[in-house]
Amino acid sequence: MTANVLGGEKRRSGFLAWAALLVLLPLSISNAFAQLRGHGGPVRALAIWSDGETAVSGSFDSTAIRWSLTRNAAVQVLRFHTDAVNAVVTLRDGRAATAGADGKIAIWSLGRAEPDSVLEGHTAPIAALAVSPDGATLGSASWDQTLRLWPLAGGAPRVLTGHTQNVNGVAFAPDGALVSVSYDHSVRIWPPSGEGAPSVVTMPSPLNAVAVSGDGEIAAASANGKIYFLTKAGATAGEIEAGPKPLISIAISPDGALVAAASVGGAVAVIDRKTRALMRTLVGPGLPVWSVAFMPDSRILLTGGADNIIRRWNALTGDPIDPLLQEAAGDPLAAYASDRGAEIFRACVACHTLGVEQSNRAGPTLANLFGRRIATLPGYNFSEALKRLDIVWTPETVSRLFEIGPAAYTPGTKMPEQRIGSEQDRAALVQFLERATKK
């Protein structure tokens, strides 16, 4: 529940700048394709500054990236969170805030390698952020079933309780009222003053995201594929089925005319807010689209998804702006069919790559793993706890890691707890890694 100022760690700052440079070098090569590539995991969150020239994205790879939309290039990799970055938002003073599955919120000044401040208090992953219309308050929604209102000028947050499941979405209405949506099916509209009970409206399905238009209308995206519209007082104001798949992100264009809602099936529905009519459906590579954001002109839509790429679309025509839109994701373990070790490794593929030509994801690449000392791979931001350990990766140490689990063998790791009870399975995994990670 404290706001920590992290200004003076120059050594760490220097390391991060160097690490960021390493990541940015390969990013600049991809500029020719105009798409925004660089994340090593699904792009979970997007926000665009009001000048339309810069965007920030958050990813499962535990980083946020600041992008130049005029140069189609990554400008800065923001490394702080120890778990997936689930939410990003731009602040009125030009800064940005990121929030993650580590339960922390980081406030960033552009160009700085360290956050200006860190807001702590949530006890479970943060799923969404929003900024109040006056720019003075940051709202956060968490899987600890609470919302928090953080005064950006400093001070203790106000904690809002009442949801009975994960809170997935938060937005501010123009009058300062806070709107939240939850896995418990409810939309809650909290009075602008923060005092008094919220209005509660229960929907037929869990709610994943919410947006509020400039005139105060609420649009809630549901896991049943529908968008539910409510007036600012909470009265139902229509619904539309955006598609058959669960919706996971939503945005209203700055001019209020369009609603974009993305689904786990990869389709992005563009809806005329006035008529509640489905105008078109943007079809990408068929992988989940986790984030949508309109440019200030309300014509261009940015989407981020499980292909790790940020794509641009003309929201009015439905045409993709960038080339190379259709790409098959492919199974990275397809070449190892019927290999028991590869089957066990499937739990690792979201975070680790195997080949030297493949980049780091949420975890470091495992290329040339054996014989390497722990936490020494260049270009990956290892925690201090891992750097202090005296482990060299061998078949025996990898096997031991999964015998007693990462939390016990490598204390301080951010790796999810995974244990493999069967000695045969551990041996199969090690044999697979020996084959797949060789030079």
Binding site: W143, N208, P246
Partner: protein, 198 residues
Amino acid sequence: MARMKFLCDADRCIECNACVTACKNEHEVPWGINRRRVVTINDGKPGERSVSMACMHCTDAPCAAVCPVNCFYTTADGVVLHSKDLCIGCGYCFYACPFGAPQYPKVGNFGSRGKMDKCTFCAGGPEADGSREEYEKYGANRLAEGKLPLCAEMCSTKSLLAGDGEIIAQIYKERVMKRGYGSGAWGWKTAYRETIES
């Protein structure tokens, strides 16, 4: 082989929560989470309706589409199960489920992710049927014993039905014809992409 399904007749649910309790006890579901819950819409207002919700074991399950480690699989009975050995606790399946089925157990210190937990249709998991390891990870495997899910067996008004999809759909049709009204088999179309014509 039968295609197993759940059917919640929302016109019969009286919000007694017997299904929730039966499930919790049968599988020794950890503190803080429930695999099944009863949701009431328009509580205290005209049109109030309660439904018993858990994993519906969807056709073309959307949870499987978002899982980054492909931990979901469908049995020959059409039951959607997952491997807790593969699950990394990312929580993406939470967003994909129209029924709020995945649950997130709180384990250890902050940051140590729990494995997702959900209704198994009383069908256990990938481990050997009836094994201790299977019970500890997933709970009882009643299907392997020739029994149906306990939540439906305990339902006091038989609002919640579980079993061969064709048979429970037929039961629902007969009910609607006899009583003369039916607000629909709740969640059936979302889960199975079909409606029950009465």
